[in-house]
Symmetry: C2
Subunit: 212 residues, 2 copies
DNA sequence: GGTCTTTTGTGAAATCCGTAACTTTCGACG
DNA sequence: CGTCGAAAGTTACGGATTTCACAAAAGACC
C-alpha cells in the first residue's frame, strides 16, 4: 500500500495543496479531479492516481471535499506544523531570502543566520542575529533546526552543506549554483534561476537552422 | 535522429555546461563521462545518452574535449549569445532579482522593468528605468525582448503572463506562486522556494508513525 | 426503492526514461 | 603494423510514470 511513493508524486502534492487553499478561500467546498486538473494543467487521472497512493479521499459522483483534502495533504506533507530554518550566507541573496515574506505564513521560520564575514556578525537580519559560520555546527547540536538554507557563493557551498549535514540537518534548500553532494538520507533541493533560463533558451532560438 | 528531444535531457544540459566551465577554468582539457558523472551525481551512461541526441562529441578511449564540448553545448542551448529580459514587478522580490549579479555574466541582461505602482515609475532599478505596466505590451512590440520575468504578487501574475504572451514573448521565468497558463508555444519555468520546502518536509517528518 | 448521472478508484496498457551491456573507435606501445 | 586498454556510441531491456478505460459508489430524482 504505502510502498515507496515516487518523488514526482510528492513534488506535485504541494501544488495541489496550494490550489486547494485558494479554492477554500473562495468558499468552494467540493472540487472534482477534472476541475482541479484544469486549474493546474494536470490530467484528472494523474490527480486521482497521485492521491490513491495515500488513500481514498473522494466521493464518487461528487468529487473531493476541499477542506478535508487540504488538511489531509497538509498532514501527509508535514506542512501542518512549524518548521525551523537556519540561513547560511547573509550577502545580498541571503538578505533577500531573510526578508522574503513568503516563508513565514507557510510555517517556515528562520531562527538563525550565519556568515563568514566578520562585519556582518552580530547584525540583525530578518529578526535574528548573525552568527559566525564557525559556530554553525555547534549551534545545530544545541538548538532544534529542521532545514538549512544555503546562500553562499559557489566555492563555499559544498563545505557549508557538509557542515549542515554534520550538524544533523536532513533537508537543505540550496541557492548556490553548484551540484552539492549529500548522503542518501539527506534531501536537497536547488533554486537556480540561471539554469531555468538556460534550459528555456533552447526552445526560443529563432532564426536559426533548426530553431523554432 | 534529432527527433523530439526529451525535456529532461534539455534540463540537464545546462548542468553539464556549468561543470565543463569549471573544469575549463581549472585547466582540464579532457574529461570522461565517468569523471563528469561523479562530479554531477549522474551515471556516465546518462551523460553519453544525453549527448548522443545531438551528435558524437567524444573520442573513444579518451573522453570529451572540455572546451570543445562546452562550446557545442552552449551553441545547442543557445547560451552562446546575449538574451534580453524584461522584469515585471519591482517590489522587494523584483528589486532583488534586478540587483542579482548572476544573470549578467551568463548573457542575460535586463533591459526594462515594469510595475503598477506609480511611486516606482521612473525610478532606476538595476540600471534601467521602471515603466508603467500599461506600457508593457506596447514596449514589447517596439523593442526586442526575449524573455519575461514575472515577479508580481500572485493575484496579478496570470494577467502579467497574458500580457507578455500578447507582446510576443515565448519564454517566461515566473517567481509568483501560481500555476500560470500559457499557450503551447510558450515555455515557462517556475521558481518557487516554498514548494521546494514543502516537498522536502515530507521526507523529514520524524517522530511520527510512518515518519523516517 | 429503482434508475440515472456523475465522478472516483484502479488495474492494465502505453509511453517515457534510465541503465546496462555490447560494439566500435582511438591512441599507445611494442 | 598488430595488439591492448580505455572510453565513447548505441542498442536493447527493464523499470518507472502516465494515460486509459471501466467497474463501483454516491447522490438526485421520481
Amino acid at each position: 500500500m504505502s510502498l515507496e511513493i515516487p518523488e514526482v508524486v510528492i513534488n506535485r502534492l504541494p501544488v495541489y495543496a496550494r490550489a486547494l487553499t485558494e479554492l477554500a478561500q473562495r468558499g468552494e467546498s467540493v472540487v472534482s479531479s477534472q476541475a482541479l486538473g484544469e486549474l493546474l494543467d494536470v490530467t484528472p487521472a494523474q490527480i486521482r492516481k497521485d492521491l490513491s497512493y495515500f488513500g481514498r479521499f473522494g466521493k464518487q459522483g461528487r468529487g473531493y471535499n476541499v477542506n478535508g483534502l487540504l488538511s489531509t495533504l497538509r498532514e501527509i506533507l508535514g506542512i501542518d506544523r512549524q518548521w525551523r530554518l537556519c540561513l547560511v550566507g547573509v550577502g545580498r541573496l541571503g538578505q533577500a531570502i531573510a526578508e522574503y515574506g513568503g516563508f513565514g505564513p507557510q510555517g517556515f521560520e528562520i531562527v538563525a543566520a550565519f556568515d563568514a564575514n566578520p562585519e556582518l556578525i552580530g547584525q540583525e537580519i530578518g529578526g535574528s542575529p548573525v552568527h559566525p559560520i564557525e559556530d554553525l555546527e555547534r549551534y545545530l547540536h544545541s538548538h532544534r533546526v529542521d532545514i538549512g538554507i544555503v546562500a553562499v557563493p559557489a566555492p563555499a557551498a559544498q563545505s557549508v552543506v557538509d557542515k549542515l549535514v554534520a550538524g544533523g540537518i536532513h533537508a537543505i534548500l540550496n541557492y548556490a549554483p553548484i551540484t552539492a553532494h549529500v548522503p542518501r538520507d539527506v534531501v536537497i533541493r536547488h533554486i537556480d534561476p540561471v539554469l531555468a533560463m538556460q534550459s528555456m533558451t533552447f526552445y526560443i532560438k529563432r532564426g536559426e537552422p533548426g530553431g523554432k
